[in-house]
C-alpha cells in the first residue's frame, strides 16, 4: 500500500527518530512511504488554545497538501484526533459545503500509526525484538479521542524479549495537555508527580505511548528524578530488531 506520512511539526523538530522508526516499520512490512514536503502543522495547538481562525487556515492547508494521499498515517494520536474530530467542527463553522465534504473524506483516510497497523492492516506482530521491561501509558487522545482500545498493547505483546508490565491508573491524564502544562504549570506538575510514582512502581525501564507530546512531559520529569527510566515512542520499539534499531 502507498502510505503518506504526516509526521507532525512536533515530531519533525523534536523527535525525528520516531518518524524514521515509522518509515522503517512500514517499509519492513512492504509498504511504500511518501512524505509530502509541503506539510507543516495540523493546527492542533491553535485550535485547542482558542485560535479558531488560525486553525481553520492550517486545516485548509493540510487538506490541500494531502489531497491526493490515499492513506495518511501519523505517529501522534492527538494530531489524528484534530484531523478527525476538530476539523469537521472547524469546517462546519465555515458553512462551506465543499470543504465540509473534503474534510469528512480526509478524516476517513487518516490513521494513527498503531491504529493503522492493528485496525486497518490487521497486523499485530511486526517482527520486533526489544528485550526490556516496558510499561504503557494510554494517552488521553488515543484512549478517548481515537478509541484505540488495546491496539498498542497487542502490538507490544508480540515484541520478542519484551517484558510488559501494566501501569496502574494508565488511563489517567499525565498532566501535559499542550499549553495547559505552561498556563497551569503547578497543577500539571501535580498530575505528573503521581504519574511518575506509578511508573516507578512498575520497575519498568521504559514508558511507552503513541504520543511524543505526553512522553516529552513524562520524560522531563523522569530526567529530573535521575532514575535511569526513560520514555520511548511505540514506533521506536516496533522498529527495533535483533542487533539494534533498524532505522
Amino acid at each position: 500500500m502507498k502510505v503518506s506520512l504526516f509526521i507532525s511539526c512536533f515530531n519533525d523538530m523534536l523527535f525525528p527518530q520516531t518518524g524514521r522508526a515509522v518509515v522503517s516499520v512500514l517499509e519492513r512490512l512492504g509498504h511504500e512511504v511518501a512524505f509530502p514536503l509541503e506539510q507543516t502543522c495540523c493546527g492542533q495547538m491553535h485550535n485547542n488554545s482558542g485560535y479558531g481562525p488560525e486553525a481553520t487556515a492550517l486545516m485548509r492547508r493540510f487538506a490541500d497538501v494531502f489531497a491526493d494521499a490515499e492513506t495518511i498515517v501519523c505517529p501522534s494520536s492527538s494530531c489524528v484526533v484534530t484531523v478527525r474530530v476538530a476539523y469537521p467542527r472547524l469546517a462546519a463553522a465555515t458553512g462551506d459545503q465543499q470543504l465540509i465534504a473534503r474534510i469528512a473524506d480526509l478524516g476517513a483516510r487518516t490513521f494513527e500509526f498503531a491504529e493503522f497497523l492493528v485496525k486497518k492492516l490487521g497486523i499485530e506482530d511486526v517482527g520486533a525484538y526489544y528485550p526490556h521491561r516496558v510499561t504503557y501509558h494510554s494517552t488521553c487522545n488515543s484512549l478517548r479521542g481515537l478509541g484505540l482500545g488495546d491496539a498498542a498493547t497487542r502490538l507490544l505483546s508480540h515484541v520478542r524479549g519484551l517484558d510488559f508490565v501494566e501501569l496502574p491508573r494508565a488511563d489517567e491524564c499525565c498532566g501535559f495537555g499542550g499549553t495547559f502544562a505552561i498556563k497551569n504549570a503547578d497543577t500539571s506538575i501535580a498530575m505528573l508527580t503521581d504519574k511518575l510514582a506509578a511508573i516507578r512502581g512498575t520497575q519498568a525501564e521504559i514508558c511507552t505511548a503513541v504520543d511524543n507530546s505526553c512522553l516529552m512531559h513524562i520524560a522531563g520529569g523522569l530526567s529530573r528524578e535521575r532514575s535511569g527510566r526513560r520514555t520511548l515512542h511505540l514506533a521506536e520499539i516496533l522498529a527495533s530488531v535483533e542487533g539494534g534499531v533498524a532505522a
Binding site: 523538530m13 493546527g43 498532566g175 502544562a181 498556563k183 497543577t187 505528573l192 530526567s223
Partner: protein, 477 residues
Amino acid sequence: MSVDSPGIIVERAFPAAARDALRDSQLRRNIGKATNTIRAKRKAVVAEMPDWQDLRDAGYAIKRDTLRHLDRHLLALEASVTAAGGTVHWARDGEEANRMVGDILAGHQAKEVLKIKSLTTDEIGLNGALSARGIEPIETDLAEVIVQKGHDRSSHILVPAIHRNRAEIREIFKRELPDTEHLTDEPRDLADAARRYLRQKFLTVPYAISGANFAVAETGSVAIFESEGNGRMCLTLPRVLISIMGIEKVIPRWADMSAFLQLLPRSSTAERMNPYNSVWSGTRAGEGPEEFHLVLLDNGRSDVLADEPARDTLNCIRCSACLNICPVYERTGGRAYGSTYPGPIGAILTPQMNAPPSPADSLPFASSLCGACYEVCPVKIDIPRILVHLRGKVVAARGAKTALDGEALVMAAMARVFENPRLYALAHKAAAIGQVPFIRDGAIKSLPGPLAGWTAMRDLTPIAKQSFREWWKARDR
C-alpha cells in the same frame, strides 16, 4: 471571597487559586481519598447496567428536545403548578429571585427558614440576601451544616464539605452547636450532634426553601432526590414551601423521569437509588405545606441556550461525576474554581455566568482536555468541546481589547510559520541554534519568561539537530 455573596462571582484566576490549594497537603489527601473511593464505586454500579450507554442516549435526547422548546415546556409547567394550587414566579437574575423569596417570607413575618441543600440558592447568594433582611437561613444537609457553621464555602457539588476531615468538623461543631462539650470526632457522635440541633429546628420552623432536581411540565410536579432525609422533613413539616429552580430543570413528561432516576444516583453517589425520592405537586389540604411557591430562575441561562456550541451545558443534572473523575479537580479541590460550580462542569458553566473580562475567563483553560469528564457524563455533555469553544471566545474578546497580547502574537507568528514550509524550515534552524545556551547534558533544564513554568520541575527535550524532513531529503537523494 465573602461567604454571603453570590456563588458564581469568581474573584481570582484559576492558576493562582490552584497554587494555594496544591500547597495544602491535608486538602489534597482528603479530596484524593474521597474522589478515588466514589470513582471506584461509581464504576462498579454503572457496570451493573447493560443498557447504560442507551440510558445516556435517552437522557441526552430528553434534555436536547426539552431545551429546543424550553419556552413551551416552562409555560406548561406554570399552568400545571398553578392548577395544582401553587404560585409560579419568574426571576430574571439572582437579585430578583432573592427579593421574591425574601418578600414571601417577610409577608409571613418569618425569622428563620429551613433549607434543603441547593446549588441554585448558593449560585444566587440567597443565604446572604435573607440574612440581610433579618431572616436566618438554616441549612439542614449535614455537609451544608458543616459548611455554614464553618463560615465556609462549599468545595464540591454533592459533598460540599469534602475538604474537611472529622477532626475539623468536631472543632466547628464544638464552637457552633449547643451541648457539644464532650463531643468526640467519631462520625456517629458528630452525626448525633447535628441531628439534635436539626430536630429542634424541624419541629419549630414553619418555612422551608428547596431547590429542584426536576420539574415535570405535564403534572406540575417538583422532585428532590436525596440521601439523608432532611429534605423530606423540610418538604412535609413546614406550612410554607418555596422551591427555586433553574429554568433548564424542567422535563416535559412524567415518563421522562425514569431515565434520570437511573442515571442520577449511580453517577452521583454511586447508589442504585437515592434513599429518599420526594415528589410534590402543588398543595393538598391536610397534607404537606399549605402554600407552595415555585421560582423559575434564568440568571444567564437564556444566553447559554442561545450559544449553540455551548448549549449542552444546560443538560447538566448536577451529579458531580465529572468532578470525581477529573484529574485537575482531584489535585486542586473545588475552591480553586472560585464558584458554586467547581470541576469540569464549573469550568464551562461559571464563565458563561460571568461577564468578561473576569477571572472566570481563566476557567476554560483549567483543563488538560483529557476527556474523562465527557466519558462519564450521564447526559453526554461534551465538556472538552465546550471548553475549546469558550477558549475561543476568551481569545476573541482579548484580541479586540489589545493588539499587544504576548500569546496572541506568538500564536499568530506560529500560524504564519506553519503556513509556509520555507519559513518553517528556517524556524527550525533558528530554534536549534537559539536553544544552544540552554542545553545542559542533552536537556533544557531552565528557561526564562512564560516557559519557566515548564522547567520548574521538568526537563525539556531540545530541538533535534536534523529534523525529520532533512533526514528524508538526504535519504531521498
